[in-house]
Symmetry: C2
Subunit: 226 residues, 2 copies
DNA sequence: GGAAATAAATGAACGTCATTCATTTATGGG
DNA sequence: CCCATAAATGAATGACGTTCATTTATTTCC
């Protein structure tokens, strides 16, 4: 029943103080300054000089507000490489930017991972670019969706991982009982690179390498044009 | 303040009614029967025939309760293949059981992805098995942690994806504007397999294949790329 | 064997949230 | 001028996690 505040035929009230764009911008300002826990409907309303209930004339729920933020944040994902660069390079660019964006917005991950895509045109546009990239590289149509979703799953998981404390994998006092793992973690740490960065880099290269073997001529794509 | 009369149900023999094991078991019963949203401290207390505040004599917070559940649930992850099967088979077994467990406990994912590992012996034991598996297969120690974390990130992302509605990737009315993606999704659906299953299978095989090229004889860690 | 210490449970608060609703305010079209 | 209408108000609601002073049962110590 939510009416878009766009139908300006009948009486117009006071000048538009709120509206989706302003609300989303204010929310992003709060997130940037004080993080997601600080994003409450009260704080948001206060930052707009308005009462909390006023927000509900524009957003149906906080969930919807989060969807607006997601759509907004999605602009930072770079899918411009598909159709322009070799598929593996385009995937690297896309996945890296995608992970970076959602590492800064990790609380959105559990929300959007489960959200119908139809509500987010920008997300659909991105998927379209990626799908066209796979198809253009000669992939079998039946594998494309799975390849995209699999890569996205890796990205989401990596974004969550990137928000973990740096010492999350320290066994602490139990280290002696788990020598192989503790040794591996210590060795990784000695490299100076945060484990989340190393893991994302290594995993992404492995995933891309593995995917490339399935491209045209690969196992599942039994019919190739040349 | 209020003087309670004596012979109430309030004052009963205080043998160990609660305790970590019983609380965890009751919580899992609620989750199984009615899902995570139903797991409130009140509901949990009620199911134990106790008042909500009583729980706080045993668990410091709901967060801690969730950690107990995680530790308990972790028993369903099968890391028995490492050191017994070829590394790729052991990884398949591990990753599949790991994902299946957390697909049924998706709300735990954002919690544990960020939780220090030191508090969960069972998780540490699992990591130890996996690390020993990689090392036993001849992997360079400095790559092992990254390989484990990367695989786990893929698992967590896939577990979240597995809880999404089946039609999450339907473009709906916008389908015509995104033909490549919509076509790929339609084709995937025609296969009859849920997209989350197809994506996990394809992604896992790609990831494992990619990782295997980095093992002994592959591009050694100390040299080459990145 | 009795007193004190300890552990466990109670129930009534609290504070924080998201959300609802009846009411008021401002605006512009007929 | 009037009234339909979008927008904003502020008080209230209902979950929820959590705290606290108090009560009671069990354990420990002399």
């Amino acid at each position: 029943m939510a009416m878009a505040p766009q139908a300006r035929r009948a009486g117009r009230p006071r000048s538009a103080v709120l509206g989706r764009a302003r609300i989303t911008a204010a929310a992003r300002r709060i997130i940037e300054a004080r993080g997601y826990p600080a994003l409450t409907m009260s704080a948001l309303a206060r930052s707009l000089g308005v009462s909390p209930s006023a927000l509900y004339n524009h957003a149906a729920s906080k969930q919807q507000l989060l969807q607006w933020i997601q759509e907004d944040v999605m602009a930072g994902v770079d899918s411009s490489g598909f159709g322009r660069l070799p598929l593996d390079d385009a995937l690297r660019l896309w996945a890296t930017s995608y992970r970076d964006v959602f590492a800064r917005h990790a609380p959105l991950v559990p929300v959007i991972a489960v959200l119908p895509v139809a509500g987010s045109p920008r997300t659909l546009r991105m998927y379209e670019d990626v799908a066209a990239g796979f198809l253009g590289a000669g992939w079998a149509e039946e594998d494309v969706a799975a390849a995209i979703i699999a890569t996205e799953s890796f990205i989401f998981g990596s974004a969550l991982d990137a928000t973990a404390p740096l010492d999350i994998f320290d066994a602490g006092e139990h280290a002696a009982r788990f020598p192989a793992f503790s040794g591996a973690v210590a060795r990784q740490r000695a490299s100076g690179m945060p484990s989340a960065e190393a893991a994302f880099g290594l995993g992404l290269e492995a995933l891309i390498a593995g995917l490339m073997t399935r491209g045209p001529g690969g196992p599942a794509a039994s019919r190739s044009s040349s």
